[in-house]
């Protein structure tokens, strides 16, 4: 068990180190999300209502996450490192978990800036809304990382990831927006937790088949 966790830590650390060096993905995601907010301001006609902005927050988050996910396996693709990881004696699901953990760190780092920016530009976010974002992050990273690995095997890499990801992201958006605007956020938060549990298990069990031939 400790070996398993150590493998995940090793792999996640490697991704963080690579990003700190290259510094390309995080700044791009940050700029993207902030630009999207500004676009939203101009896209929302006057009197659209406060709640419209909450919905747009989720659009921004999903597409920003997609931006990061598209490049998440790029280091492994470049040197053919996928083979190297598959050959290693570590559990294949550890490869997925390590990468998902790193993507999660990136996403949270972005949100630390984006959520206050949103509160500044549009309207404040309460605890339930932030909890919704936190829970949805887990689902986005778990499912997104696996789908990104699938897309890496495809000819049309960057094109196909959004197509694979968006239908699966719809329940997350429902949960997230619901927890922000509903007077009973508990139900939506529970639903998000359910989504996370169900899909995390599926991803954990099926990653082996995504990377082996």
């Amino acid at each position: 068990m400790t070996g398993y966790l150590a493998d995940i830590a090793t792999l996640a650390r490697k991704d963080l180190r690579l990003e700190l060096r290259a510094r390309d993905t995080l700044p791009a995601m940050l700029l993207f999300v902030l630009s999207t907010f500004v676009v939203f301001h101009f896209a929302l006609p006057q009197g659209s209502g406060e709640t419209a902005a909450q919905g747009l927050l989720w659009v921004a988050l999903v597409f920003t996450a997609l931006l990061g996910l598209t490049r998440s396996w790029a280091p492994e693709r470049e040197g053919g490192v996928f083979d190297g990881l598959v050959l290693a004696p570590c559990d294949r699901s550890a490869i997925w978990l390590g990468k998902a953990a790193a993507v999660l760190v990136f996403l949270v780092a972005i949100e630390v800036v984006a959520l206050p920016a949103f509160a500044l530009f549009f309207e404040p976010l309460d605890g339930a809304a932030v909890a919704g974002v936190a829970l949805a992050n887990l689902g986005i990273c778990a499912v997104g990382t696996l789908l990104a690995a699938m897309a890496a095997a495809s000819r049309t890499r960057e094109l196909i990831l959004p197509l694979l990801f968006l239908p699966l992201a719809i329940p997350l958006v429902v949960g997230g927006v619901g927890s922000a605007i509903s007077p009973e956020p508990g139900r939506y938060l529970l639903f998000l937790a359910l989504y996370d549990a169900v899909f995390a298990i599926i991803c954990w069990a099926s990653f082996e088949y995504v990377v082996t031939e």
């Binding site: 070996g3 040197g79 050959l87 004696p89």
Partner: protein, 194 residues
């Protein structure tokens, strides 16, 4: 160590391997030769455990962590330093006394001075040498090497020759090459793919 009967590999309707038989005993040195497109790379990938056969039987004795592999790609992170790459693999393979072992290998392949440089700054020959360090790092029982002399300069080739010679008999080798004559003195068996 490896035994294959009637090994087949298909990608869709394209047949790459059509019934290959292979026997590699422990301590053996099998040289696989053949023209381009004859399936050498596919055969080696199957024997390393990177792909599953479409037909026939394949028995590989060592488990996953005891196989070393050199392929056409380096299997190294370009933006990590040589030392960091080997450290990563060292951890994943649970190499005992990791730092010492990495130091020894880097020295043996003449890369100690470049240990903190990123792989993206390496020449092709240096990348191949580092890939060799990676393959030998965990002291595997079985080494599956796909054209390991590629891109090596005279010095690099000599280092590899020395390494292979020192391990022959103790470890098992499966090597694919364009140039079977080079390895003729070491080879205990041969397989030519059509």
């Amino acid at each position: 160590m490896i035994q294959a009967r009637g090994l087949q590999k298909r990608y869709g309707s394209k047949r790459v391997l059509r019934g290959v038989d292979l026997d590699l005993p422990r301590g053996g040195f099998l040289v696989v030769s053949g023209p381009n497109g004859s399936g050498k790379t596919t055969l080696l990938r199957l024997c390393a455990g990177l792909a599953l056969p479409s037909g026939g039987t394949l028995a590989i004795e060592p488990e996953r962590g005891r196989i070393g592999y050199i392929g056409h790609e380096s299997l190294l992170y370009r933006d990590l330093a040589a030392l960091e790459n080997l450290d990563l693999y060292g951890r994943l393979y649970r190499v005992p006394e990791r730092r010492e072992r990495i130091g020894v290998l880097l020295g043996r392949f003449g890369l100690w001075d470049a240990r903190n440089e990123r792989v993206s700054a390496f020449s092709r020959g240096m990348v191949q040498r580092l890939a060799l360090c990676r393959a030998f790092l965990h002291d595997p029982d079985l080494l599956v090497l796909d054209e390991p002399f590629t891109a090596l300069d005279a010095e690099g080739a000599e280092l590899l020759d020395r390494e292979l010679a020192s391990l022959t008999g103790e470890r098992t080798f499966l090597v694919a090459t364009h140039d079977p004559h080079r390895l003729a003195p070491l080879a205990s068996e041969r397989l030519a793919l059509a």
